[in-house]
Symmetry: C2
Subunit: 126 residues, 2 copies
């Protein structure tokens, strides 16, 4: 398929796909006229890349761990594997951080609700 279709099916912009290729996260075969062509598999790959971006990994970091996706059986991915573990931990810590922030907001919400209840004693959900 061509780049427009891949973009549509993976839910990203054409611009992003070209950027991913530039960053070494994605490869394409080229038609004689220079247009990029992709296989079905690339759809999932792009979704994975997006997932990792959403988890806060940078292009560089994604590039570093991709060997674990592409050739999990090769010895050359020692560094990549280390990175994978690191990123997993970073995500866990980030989740904890978000949970603490959510707790703070929950507390604020409770306090505000209490005050609001007092202000409008007989007008709930207005």
């Amino acid at each position: 398929m061509r780049i427009g279709e891949l973009a549509g099916r993976a839910g990203v912009s054409v611009r992003s796909l070209r950027y991913y290729e530039e960053q070494g996260l994605l490869t394409s075969t080229r038609s004689p006229s220079g247009q990029r062509h992709y296989t079905e598999d690339e759809v999932e790959r792009v979704r994975l890349i997006q997932c990792l971006y959403a988890a806060g990994l940078s292009s560089r970091t994604i590039a570093e761990v991709l060997p674990c996706v592409d050739s999990p059986s090769e010895r050359n991915s020692d560094e990549a594997f280390e990175r994978l573990l690191q990123e997993r931990d970073r995500i866990s810590r980030h989740i904890d951080e978000l949970a603490r922030a959510r707790d703070a907001l929950d507390l604020l919400i409770d306090v505000n609700r209490a005050h609001r209840a007092q202000l409008t004693p007989r007008r709930p959900r207005a």
Copy 2:
């Protein structure tokens, strides 16, 4: 206290504190010579602001919810309160997203571990 001490105690840069003030997140009293002075309370406020930044809120959004911190009892914070609920939900969704990414990494880790175990059958943790 002056800005350097606040920065140290709250764990942020002096530059950041001035930026927060510029964004309306923090206020200071000024000495006759123009230097900023802060009370003890501001330490906690700065930590809260940092917490919200870490949770992905922008300066603008933090400014929008701060009325709920400063005057939780006032009617004027309707919009702020709405925003508070929205952000809480956004954080929850973000946590779910991160958890999915972590699951994906865990799977990758398992697969890679399996392959590595096969490659070096009698050399664990080398």
